[in-house]
């Protein structure tokens, strides 16, 4: 497929859905051998990427808006770490 996204731009879910699609298209078995091999290669790459993501998954937590400074202070260090630029203090 020409509209394939680079692996790093895929979310886990997108990758997972694409993988399932490829497996299904291979299972229906009407692909040319070259195409089947191409699909398999992409599926392998997806599988590897998804496995790595699962293994290395780290929760991303960010704060979009806080009521006040005190709340931010109250955040545990590992949560408040990725304070974002759009942090909105009211």
């Amino acid at each position: 497929m020409s509209d394939e996204k680079p692996l790093e731009e895929l979310s886990y879910k997108e990758g997972s859905i694409e993988l399932e699609r490829i497996v299904r298209s291979l299972e229906t078995g009407d692909l040319e051998l070259e195409e089947a091999l191409e699909r398999y290669e992409r599926a392998s790459a997806l599988l590897k990427m998804l496995r790595a993501r699962l293994a290395d998954a780290e929760q991303k937590v960010s704060v979009l808006m806080a009521q006040n400074e005190a709340e931010l202070e109250a955040l545990p260090a590992e949560l408040s770490a990725p304070k974002r630029a759009f942090l909105d203090e009211e």
Binding site: S16, L26, G29, L47, L54
Partner: protein
């Protein structure tokens, strides 16, 4: 007041007048000893009490019917009404003309009314609600950042699915000022287009949770383009926000768990797909190999077979009649011509015979037809003959009449038509007479007119055989 004693009736009357004079006022207390409306009258009797005192209360049927909440023991109510005395027993009762729930009762009453209104508008229709994806990769958590709830959510997702990105949006979750901050946080969350919004709060009293029973908040949730999952309070607490949300979970933790599958499930899915992928590829390769080896095996065979096929064809051609004996072809044509000639020769007499047979059949039918015509005519003729005989004047002659004809053969009907000496013929029933007129007589007068002898011709006859 007179110092002399009065009757009971008078005493009660005085008390009643005094109580009635007190007018209307409002009393707050707790319902006790409520027995439901009287089966016969429909009125309600109960006691209203606080820690120090108690009084008996009557709610007339008409007032009771207007209540939109359930009166029961322990409920805090505010009554409007006045005291009265039942003369027969001298008992004092408070006649409540208005009953309102206060405290929790009042809150529940308000919440129930709002829920009813919003439900009627369709805000709680399951079919109209947004679907929450099975795996939300990014969720906005709308809650208070100062409470432990956000930690519960983060911890729950860290345990269950670390792939879920969490964005925290802070708001107040308690008090009259809370709803606008919740609404603002929801809208900010919606703007980042997450897969779902978690609206969560820890447990609390009904009063604590009232912020989630706000009408504007409910309308905001229903109008969001992102599905909202609620986890407000504990298991039995249900708020309006819960009712209009896409999904209601009983606690913040349950809400967090519901937005993504556990890591183990993702792991299993990957393993399963990997297995399918390997097996399908192995199968595909086997297929390709098999088809290739099949082709490879058929290649030399197919070459030999091609040669054999062509040789067989040539052999067949060489052994055909035309190649063996070309003269046979001419012989065949000649034989065909002979056959055609024979058929033409046969065809003519056969046609003639058919025509002759046809003519014969027609002739037979013509003869038969003609015979029938003659028969019909002759029978008609004899019928006509019979009628003719019946009508013939000759038949009249048989009865003695005669026809007289002159010499020219004209019938003589008047005596004056012939002169004396003329020869006449009288035709009789059988035969005729030749005669000579000897005298002619004038016509006779009718017998009734005259008695004179009639005049007549004198005729001399000669017998004349017919």
């Amino acid at each position: 007041m007179p110092s002399s004693p009065v009757s009971v009736a008078r005493a009660v009357e005085v008390a009643k007048a005094t109580l009635n004079g007190m007018g209307t006022f409002r009393v707050v207390g707790e319902v006790s000893g409520f027995r439901g409306p009287n089966a016969r009258s429909g009125h309600c009797y109960f006691d209203l009490k606080d820690e120090e005192a108690s009084m008996s209360v009557i709610v007339w049927r008409s007032t009771f019917a207007k209540l939109d909440f359930e009166l029961k023991d322990g409920l805090e109510v505010e009554l409007s009404g006045s005291f009265d005395v039942y003369v027969r027993s001298g008992r004092m009762s408070f006649i409540a003309s208005k009953v309102e729930a206060t405290g929790e009762g009042a809150l529940r009453q308000r919440v129930a009314a709002l829920a009813k209104k919003l439900a009627a508008e369709g805000l709680m229709d399951e079919a109209a609600k947004l679907r929450v994806p099975a795996f939300c990769e990014r969720v906005c958590v709308v809650t208070s950042l100062s409470g432990s709830v956000k930690d519960d959510v983060v911890r729950t997702l860290a345990r269950r699915n670390r792939l879920v990105e969490i964005v925290l949006c802070s708001c107040s979750v308690q008090g009259a000022d809370a709803p606008p901050t919740i609404i603002a946080a929801l809208k900010a969350a919606e703007a980042t287009a997450p897969d779902a919004i978690l609206l969560v709060r820890g447990g609390g009293s009904l009063e604590d949770l009232m912020a989630f029973n706000d009408e504007r908040l409910a309308r905001t949730i229903a109008a969001l383009r992102v599905p909202v999952v609620t986890g407000i309070g504990h298991e039995p607490d249900v708020t309006i926000a819960d009712l209009v949300a896409s999904r209601r979970q009983s606690t913040p933790t349950a809400a967090a768990e519901s937005v993504a599958p556990p890591m183990s499930q993702l792991q299993d899915a990957l393993t399963e797909r990997s297995r399918r992928l390997e097996s399908v590829l192995a199968r595909r390769m086997d297929m390709a190999r098999e088809s290739l080896s099949g082709l490879a095996a058929r290649l030399p065979l197919s070459l030999a077979q091609g040669v054999r096929q062509r040789r067989d064809l040539l052999t067949a051609l060489a052994s055909s009649r035309a190649m063996r004996d070309p003269a046979l072809l001419i012989f065949d044509r000649a034989r065909d011509l002979d056959r055609a000639e024979e058929r033409i020769a046969d065809a003519l007499p056969r046609g003639l015979a058919r025509q002759a047979e046809l003519l014969e059949r027609l002739a037979g039918r013509a003869e038969l037809g003609a015979k029938r015509v003659v028969e019909r005519a002759s029978s008609r003729l004899s019928a006509l003959g019979a009628s003719l005989t019946a009508l013939s004047p000759l038949a009249v002659l048989g009865r003695g009449y005669a026809i007289v004809k002159d010499e020219r053969g004209h019938v003589v009907s008047r005596a004056s038509a012939v002169g004396v000496g003329a020869r006449i013929t009288a035709i009789l029933g059988e035969g005729s007479l030749e005669a000579e007129v000897t005298r002619a007589r004038a016509p006779e007068t009718p017998p009734f007119a005259s008695t004179k002898r009639p005049r007549s011709h004198h005729v001399r006859c000669r017998k004349d055989e017919p």
